[in-house]
């Protein structure tokens, strides 16, 4: 059907909607990385000595490591010396209210659909906005503080709660974990910190918007979320980035710690600049995300909708250490044009009766290459452990690829691991059926894709579910064939 194909192509070729650059002066360290850079970052942030030492330890270790190349993605070599490792919007003085925030900055958020002041009243979402690397405004803090919840930028937590940082930083992702996490440990700039005390149910969704803005600035976010015994928290992370030609590296680390009976839900909608349709530019999203169910009956749930980035390479994982703990991973990854994704999860079952669920939906269009890579490891003492994995891939167009590389390692006889995967193209008969009933091709595709991803979307908090559906529609518009 030639008409369909051309309609499809127009839809597929839609440009990135969120591409713009904000003019702001920045404090930026000159490009390059050595021990002095690490010390300078630490000094700029006025960090206690234990943290400086930790960064240096990581940096020294990083120097002994080599960049890994095992995933199913291809990228040009990264010059780590050409990256500037710190960039902060210039501060005039300490900000007392939103009015004092640079109006340019506020405009950026407005363009992104995140009007801070409105959101305060309207959505009930506390936003810790990360603009490049330094948090400039934090809302709802007082309300959270009343309940004893600490939700602030990572730098602030370092100043105010060093004991918590010292105890939990690197406890899930050690400084020596992998090449990119180690680099992050040495040079991380800022990020979010959250601590929910014993028995407290966080009353609102916590949210951070990341934006990579400064040219040539790698973003090295560090997020640490701790839910103490019986606590629960839901955290949202959403990203868009301006259009750029150079590839930008994003090597974040997210650590989650759930103590006994605690619950953490971490949701991501990632829509960074994927590069243009020829694969030029775009973000390298090389992120280490890991949660640890430290206490019994704890639960960690990752939900991600990955539509952006030139390369997405991440495996949000759960270490199921406490007995009866539960790990969940729900993912939608979409690759269009020349995008590449190698993503999945790791579920490490250590405790007894631990359970994990993995639902992964991959959509490939254009020349996109989408890989699910996941590890389910059931250790010897994980009696009664249970895993269910489902990976479905949808192919749109004949130039894209969908790959599934699961690793299932079972060392306990009472454990059960199930893995199912399927790959197919978008149903022509389904499209035909919809069109026959007067539904436009575009709507039909959206409906089918949303149906395909429904299992994941229903795990997202309300605010995100709507956004995610739209995002998928925008990113995929018309790439059906």
């Amino acid at each position: 059907m030639p008409t369909e194909t051309s309609a499809i192509e127009t839809m597929a070729n839609k440009e990135y909607k969120w591409g713009f650059v904000t003019d702001l002066e920045s404090d930026t360290l000159p490009p390059g990385l050595n021990e002095d850079t690490v010390r300078a970052i630490s000094a700029l942030k006025n960090e206690p000595s234990f943290l400086t030492e930790w960064r240096l330890k990581a940096f020294r270790h990083w120097q002994t490591m080599t960049e890994p190349h095992w995933p199913n993605v291809k990228f040009a070599p990264i010059d780590y010396q050409a990256v500037s490792y710190y960039s902060a919007p210039k501060k005039k003085k300490t900000l007392a209210s939103l009015d004092e925030v640079d109006p340019e900055l506020l405009k950026t958020y407005e363009k992104l659909g995140v009007p801070l002041h409105e959101q305060k009243i309207f959505a009930g979402v506390a936003v810790d906005a990360v603009f490049d690397s330094v948090s400039v405004a934090t809302t709802f803090k007082e309300k959270l503080a009343e309940m004893g919840i600490i939700f602030c930028s990572f730098s602030e937590a370092v100043q105010k709660h060093p004991e918590l940082i010292k105890k939990y930083l690197g406890s899930v992702v050690p400084y020596s974990d992998n090449f990119f996490a180690t680099l992050n440990s040495a040079v991380f700039s800022d990020g979010s910190f959250c601590y929910v005390p014993k028995g407290v149910q966080c009353p609102m969704e916590l949210s951070t918007y990341f934006r990579i803005n400064e040219r040539n600035t790698g973003q090295f976010e560090r997020t640490l979320i701790i839910a103490d015994e019986g606590a629960s928290v839901s955290y949202l992370e959403g990203c868009t980035a301006p259009m750029r030609d150079e590839n930008q590296l994003h090597a974040a680390v997210v650590e989650l710690v759930a103590l006994g009976d605690a619950r953490i839900k971490y949701s991501t909608v990632q829509n960074w600049y994927p590069g243009d349709k020829d694969g030029k530019g775009g973000i390298y999203n090389f992120v280490t995300k890991r949660g640890k169910c430290l206490g019994d009956n704890s639960r960690i749930s990752w939900t991600q909708v990955e539509t952006g980035s030139a390369i997405t390479w991440k495996y949000p994982s759960v270490i199921l250490q406490g007995d009866n703990s539960v790990g969940e991973f729900y993912s939608v990854a979409l690759t269009n044009h020349r995008q590449q994704a190698d993503t999945g999860t790791k579920m490490i079952h250590i405790g007894r009766n631990t359970r994990s669920t993995i639902v992964s939906k991959g959509i490939s269009a254009g020349f996109g290459q989408n890989t699910y890579r996941g590890l389910v490891k059931i250790l010897k003492h994980a009696t009664g452990a249970r895993n269910y994995t489902q990976c479905d891939s949808m192919l749109i167009g004949d130039k894209c690829g969908a790959h599934t590389f699961p690793y299932i390692e079972v060392r306990n006889t009472s454990a059960r691991a199930e893995h199912e995967a399927s790959t197919s193209k978008i149903g022509e008969d389904q499209l035909f059926y919809c069109k026959q009933r007067g539904i436009s091709l575009e709507d039909a595709v959206n409906m089918i894709i949303n149906g395909f991803c429904k299992e994941v979307f229903k795990e997202l908090p309300m605010e995100f579910a709507v956004e995610a559906q739209k995002l998928l529609g925008v990113s995929l518009e018309g790439s059906v064939g």
Binding site: W70, K380, S393, L395, I396, G397, D398, K399, C400, G401, A402, H403, T404, F405, P406, Y407, I408, E409, V410, R411, N412, T413, S414, A415, R416, A417, E418, H419, E420, A421, S422, T423, S424, K425, G481
Partner: protein
């Protein structure tokens, strides 16, 4: 063959090894073939632990033992073969002792009237040309270190040529038998099968060895060409001695409309590695790969399969099952590769494992790599114990726990056995499976 191998970056930290060059009996082409294999090994060396393909299997017991090829066929009579021979069932049987063809022990019957079969050494004229046309084509020496060593070292090989349109009713059994040796010995079975268009046969390759103080290594290589519309069933029976090492490479080329079906049956050896690659090169070829592994003790069984869909409209089916007891470790890595032009591929892969003891380990890697859009590919993998509810059901009907276990394990394996096309082979393997499972249950009761 000097030890220049060490200069190669990829060989750092690995045991240097000088490939053995097999005899060529005055055939110039064989000599060249062997030397090409040795040269390939010098380039690629042993697979390393960093290699994703070999990460679940530790081959150092092989690389650190100085295996020597058998100098000639050891002494073996019908008595030694009794446990592994299938001649009594009326199958054709071609017996190789320590890699050398033994006409006395073989049961050829009227096979020569139906097909051509030929040891490489005796080949001349047309037959040599045919062998040379196919040998090393599907399984190049560069495939991996073991394939290279086989290419360099085989003492003799068998070529089966099924002329167009011929249907061989009785199964053909090729038995590779390793006798007892006074030092670690390696044999390199090499088999080449060419099934011309419209031909039909069931071929069984058995690998067996006598228990010995110096466990032998079998490094086998099999190449199969399924011509247009041919039907070939290829069964592999691995029944090596308990401490033996067994590595096998099988490569299959499937032409248009041909149907290829395999069964890999692993029952013996301490360390087993099977690489099975099927290349669906032309439209409407079909491949069915089955596997059954019954392991206990400290056995390590690593099954790797690759289904390479290079043409459109090719269905493939795969079912691998493992029963693991004791400290056994199983590995299944099955890749379905769908190349850009292989539209309308319909591929289904299933791997199921039953863990019968707390110390058994299963590593499963079902993989899909898909570059075409109009395809239907699925894989499923499960690992778990015997279903307690099923046990309870049987026991509630008066079946003893032990009997119920044996029934359920047999039923689990039965799925694979039922797929065997040739009825007599199915019967033979069903009996063999029962024996293996019986042994497994005895062992688990004793431990």
């Amino acid at each position: 063959m000097t030890q220049t191998v060490q200069t190669d970056q990829r060989l750092k930290g690995r045991t240097a090894h000088t490939p053995h060059i097999g005899p060529h009996h005055g055939h110039k082409w064989l000599e060249e073939f062997h030397h090409a294999g040795a040269a390939a090994f010098e380039k690629i060396g042993w697979p390393s632990a960093d290699d994703e393909q070999w990460r679940y299997i530790n081959i150092t017991p092989i690389t650190q033992t100085s295996f020597r090829p058998a100098a000639g066929p050891g002494s073996a009579g019908r008595g030694e073969l009794a446990g592994v021979s299938l001649a009594g069932r009326g199958f054709y049987e071609l017996v190789f002792v320590d890699g050398y063809f033994s006409p006395e022990l073989s049961e050829i019957g009227d096979l020569a009237r139906l097909i051509e079969f030929q040891c490489f050494h005796d080949a001349s004229g047309d037959r040599t040309d045919r062998i040379r046309r196919y040998l090393g084509h599907e399984l190049p020496a560069m495939s991996n270190g073991f394939a290279a060593l086989n290419t360099a070292g085989f003492s003799d090989g068998i070529f089966l040529y099924l002329p167009a349109g011929v249907a061989v009713q009785k199964p053909i059994h090729i038995l590779w038998f390793t006798t007892r040796h006074a030092r670690p010995t390696v044999v390199f079975p090499r088999c080449l099968i060419s099934a011309c268009s419209g031909s039909q046969a069931t071929i069984i390759q058995s690998f067996a060895s006598l228990e010995s103080d110096h466990p032998p290594l079998t490094n086998a290589a099999t190449e199969v060409i399924c011509g247009r519309d041919s039907r070939l069933e290829l069964i592999k029976l691995e029944r090596e001695a308990p401490h033996a090492f067994h590595v096998a490479n099988e490569a299959v080329h499937v032409h248009a409309g041909a149907k290829f079906q395999s069964l890999t049956f692993n029952a013996g050896a301490l360390l087993v590695r099977n690489n099975m690659t099927v290349h669906l090169a032309e439209p409407f070829g079909e491949a069915t790969l089955n596997g059954l592994t019954i392991s206990s003790g400290n056995q390590r069984v690593d099954n790797h399969t690759t289904l390479d869909h290079a043409a459109e409209n090719c269905p493939s089916h795969e079912l691998y099952k493992s029963l693991l007891a004791g400290n056994a470790t199983g590995v299944f890595r099955g890749k379905i590769l769908v190349r850009p032009d292989a539209q309308k591929t319909d591929s289904k892969q299933t791997s199921k494992t039953m863990l019968l003891s707390d110390d058994a380990v299963m590593n499963s890697q079902p993989q899909l790599e898909i570059y075409a859009n109009d395809v239907k590919c699925t894989h499923g993998s499960t690992t778990g114990p015997i279903d307690e509810e099923q046990l309870f059901y049987l026991q509630s009907r008066g079946v003893s726990a032990a009997r119920a276990r044996s029934l359920l394990t047999y039923a689990f394996a039965g799925d694979v056995l039922n797929r065997i096309i040739h009825p007599e082979v199915r019967e033979t393997l069903s009996t063999l499976t029962s024996e293996c499972l019986h042994q497994l249950h005895i062992e688990s009761v004793e431990s």
